[in-house]
């Protein structure tokens, strides 16, 4: 199923909740809606579903205008953050309810459909229970089974795992990805978490303050964020952003007006101007790897040690401008005392650069093998 938004906007009173946007979802694939709280994800989903009517613009399903057609007459299913189940119905009856509502199926067919979807979500053994007797994870599995039993061509999930435990989330997310890869359903999945978008793969729409900032294959958005804001929304730990300039007649970026970084190949086209340089925390290193690496002297603020990784918060004091806060991510344990000095290294070929307007001027060369997403290596 192809869902298309054409010049859609949403005004509520004097406030603009969705600025004019065009979007053609990837049919039969996962489309992640990534944005921080109040970015407009839920509003956009409600417009897609027909729960709300856009102020302007059209919603098209397979080329047909469905703007203003109510959700009841659309063929879609939705899953919310809060697990919504009928408390007095058994898990079986909860899952069967959409089929009973639309009618036309024999009891035997209902049983078969519910059985099949319950098996896929690993809740077959719970079918006789009431939702109240289930754990949070089981309740959300039930809600998902109910959404999926209709085999609707469009499935909208609004932060469906946010209320679950970390480990449960990890497990369910992997299962969902597997499930979605085997259906022809167009999936829209809203999340605030960059990691979740990367784990789900597919395509990603980045939303911010009601604006669509970028829509492309997930890894492409990650490796080539169209704007500085996209890079901020789509990185965890956050990308380090620093002011820099290219001076007239020179082929180097001056970080904080002090540290000169020769322009790497992917930045060769930069003209004299002010820029923002982006460095991923995992690209900040403790030791020099190449002769071309640039050394930066920093003062340690705090080591956050997770066991597998150390997040080193440092202050970059070089230069005339005010001190800048950085995060560096290292694998393993590195316990540095606050206020101690440390020299960190960055590789000029790994820098992201944004222009004064915030648009991407250069990102590291990258071969993104899209065929390598979700099931990579063909055996």
């Amino acid at each position: 199923m192809q869902l298309q938004l054409e010049g859609v906007t949403k005004q509520v009173g004097a406030e603009t909740h969705i600025h004019k946007l065009d979007l053609v979802l990837q049919p039969g694939k996962i489309n992640v809606l990534l944005g921080q709280t109040r970015a407009g994800k839920t509003t956009l989903m409600r417009l897609m579903a027909g729960l709300d009517r856009p102020t302007a613009g059209r919603v098209l399903v397979d080329g047909q205008d469905v703007t203003g057609v109510s959700v009841r007459r659309r063929n879609l299913a939705m899953v919310y953050q809060q697990f919504v189940n009928y408390p007095s119905f058994s898990v079986f009856e909860n899952i069967a309810s959409p089929l009973r509502l639309s009618g036309g199926l024999s009891e035997q067919e209902v049983k078969a459909r519910v059985g099949a979807v319950a098996e896929r979500l690993h809740i077959t053994h719970l079918l006789d229970r009431l939702p109240g007797a289930l754990s949070g994870g089981q309740q959300q599995r039930t809600a998902m089974a109910r959404a999926m039993v209709k085999n609707a061509p469009l499935l909208l999930l609004d932060e469906p795992l946010v209320n679950l435990d970390y480990k449960l989330r990890e497990e369910l997310r992997a299962e969902l990805k597997e499930l979605f890869s085997t259906t022809a359903t167009t999936v829209v999945y809203a999340t605030t978490e960059p990691q979740e978008a990367l784990l789900l793969g597919g395509h990603t729409v980045v939303l911010d303050e009601g604006r669509l900032l970028q829509f492309a294959p997930t890894l492409e958005v990650f490796h080539h964020p169209a704007t500085r804001r996209v890079a901020q929304v789509f990185s965890d730990p956050p990308m380090n952003l620093l002011p820099a300039t290219v001076r007239a007649g020179e082929r180097a970026l001056y970080l904080n007006e002090a540290v000169a970084i020769p322009l790497a190949r992917h930045l060769a086209h930069l003209g004299a101007a002010s820029y923002t340089v982006g460095v991923r925390p995992s690209h900040v290193r403790l030791a020099r790897r190449k002769d071309s690496d640039i050394a930066i002297d920093c003062e340690v603020e705090l080591s956050e040690i997770s066991g597998s990784d150390t997040y080193l918060h440092v202050r970059f004091k070089t230069g005339k401008r005010k001190a800048l806060d950085w995060v560096a991510q290292f694998s393993g344990v590195l316990n540095l005392a606050p206020d101690s000095h440390v020299t960190l290294y960055i590789d000029p070929s790994e820098l992201f650069v944004f222009d004064e307007a915030g648009n991407l001027s250069g990102s590291p060369d990258r071969i993104v093998d899209l065929t390598a997403q979700p099931a990579a290596v063909t055996v």
């Binding site: 921080q36 709280t37 109040r38 754990s135 949070g136 435990d165 970390y166 480990k167 449960l168 990890e170 605030t192 978490e193 960059p194 990691q195 990367l198 784990l199 793969g201 890894l219 990650f222 490796h223 901020q232 929304v233 965890d236 730990p237 956050p238 991923r280 995992s282 603020e301 705090l302 956050e304 040690i305 997770s306 066991g307 597998s308 997040y311 918060h313 995060v327 694998s331 344990v333 606050p338 390598a372 997403q373 979700p374 099931a375 990579a376 290596v377 055996v379």
Partner: protein, 355 residues
């Protein structure tokens, strides 16, 4: 600040024959930052409620600096609490909200002012002290709740119950750092309950991992990651969790499915003395693609690109193994040889670590 001692502490809810909290004893040192970590239903909220005084345990005692507080209600325990959702007064200014716990204790106004300013500075609230709380976002309100919890110096402990749930991921990074700095400066005793491992691990000096009403390990983040005492800790800490693979020790050989490797003599002796079924545990970070040397031959199933790392999933016998590889690593063959870093490979029997 206080040293908190749990002596033979256990709890069964009325009418239940099973313990929600298994009887156990432990000591939480003064000025420590502790995290209680575990899945829903593991007993961490029960334990927190016993420490805060909301719940009287069915057995055992709670001591604050040696004084028995087991049956004292929360308001008599001299603790501060921060909950999942903001608890503040909408009609008051940010300043008055932060000052509330101090004025409530009849602190003199000049002291109130300096204390509020100090905490506001640390949480970047200095600019908004005169604003009314009403117009603030949920996130800003939660930051004020944190400030209220941290404003008193004379509390026995500050208890946090999932305090960053409503906070956006990128702001969490800043807030965690601020809470940690406040802890370093003020040396408050902090107890932080969460199901989010990154939050627990980066916040705490000591993490208390709970599972089925039992504390299965208390240790530093490094201990939990490098030497999990229990398979649950291996699984729960880390993302993806530890690979846990059934294995057999036979003389000086270690068998995984149909394949075997040589065991060092000391390890062979230890494992040979254990009658129960053995499980090998190795972190995905410590599984390496090996060109040569002793390694297991595995079938490559998939490779997931997560931007800054790649996760390889492979099959060895009937078991799946995950390996965390670098962002530029590739495996293009249908089979690959995987090596487990020997000194970082653990062995478990009945869930507990044996070697």
């Amino acid at each position: 600040m206080a040293r908190i001692e749990l002596a033979g502490l256990g709890h069964r809810y009325a009418g239940n024959k099973d313990y929600s909290l298994q009887p156990q004893s432990m000591v939480w040192e003064d000025s420590g930052a502790y995290a209680l970590l575990g899945p829903s239903g593991c007993g961490k909220t029960t334990l927190l409620n016993i420490i805060s005084g909301l719940l009287v345990p069915s057995e055992g005692r709670v001591l604050f600096d040696g004084k028995d507080v087991t049956t004292l209600p929360p308001e008599k325990r001299n603790i501060a609490q921060v909950f999942q959702f903001p608890v503040i007064y909408d009609t008051m200014t940010v300043f008055d909200n932060l000052a509330f716990p101090l004025r409530n204790r009849k602190m003199r106004e000049p002291e109130v002012r300096s204390r509020v300013q100090e905490i506001a500075e640390m949480l970047d609230l200095s600019g908004s002290l005169s604003r009314r709380a009403k117009g603030l976002s949920a996130e800003e309100k939660q930051i004020i709740s944190l400030g209220r919890g941290l404003v008193r110096k004379d509390v026995a402990a500050v208890l946090f119950d999932e305090p960053l749930t409503v906070i956006d991921p990128h702001v969490k990074w800043l807030l965690r750092r601020q809470i940690k700095r406040i802890h370093n400066q003020l040396k408050l005793s902090l107890i932080y309950v969460t199901h989010d491992q990154i939050e627990a691990l980066t916040f705490a000096d000591q993490v208390v991992v709970m599972y089925n009403g039992e504390v299965v390990q208390m240790g530093s983040p490094q201990d939990l990651f490098e030497t999990p005492a229990h398979t649950f800790v291996g699984h729960f800490i880390g993302s993806p969790g530890m690979n846990l693979l059934p294995c057999k020790a036979d003389g000086d050989r270690l068998w995984l499915g149909e394949q075997s490797l040589a065991l060092p003599p000391a390890l062979a002796k230890t494992l040979g003395g254990i009658a129960k079924p053995l499980t090998l545990g190795v972190r995905p970070e410590l599984v390496q693609v090996a060109a040569e040397g002793e390694a297991f031959d595995t079938e490559v199933l998939r490779m997931e690109d997560l931007g800054t790392v790649k996760i390889l999933t492979a099959r060895l016998g009937g078991e799946l193994i995950k390996a965390k590889l670098g962002e530029h690593d590739t495996v293009v063959t249908a089979r690959t040889r995987l090596r487990f870093v020997p000194e970082r490979t653990m062995f478990y029997a009945d869930g507990h670590r044996v070697a």
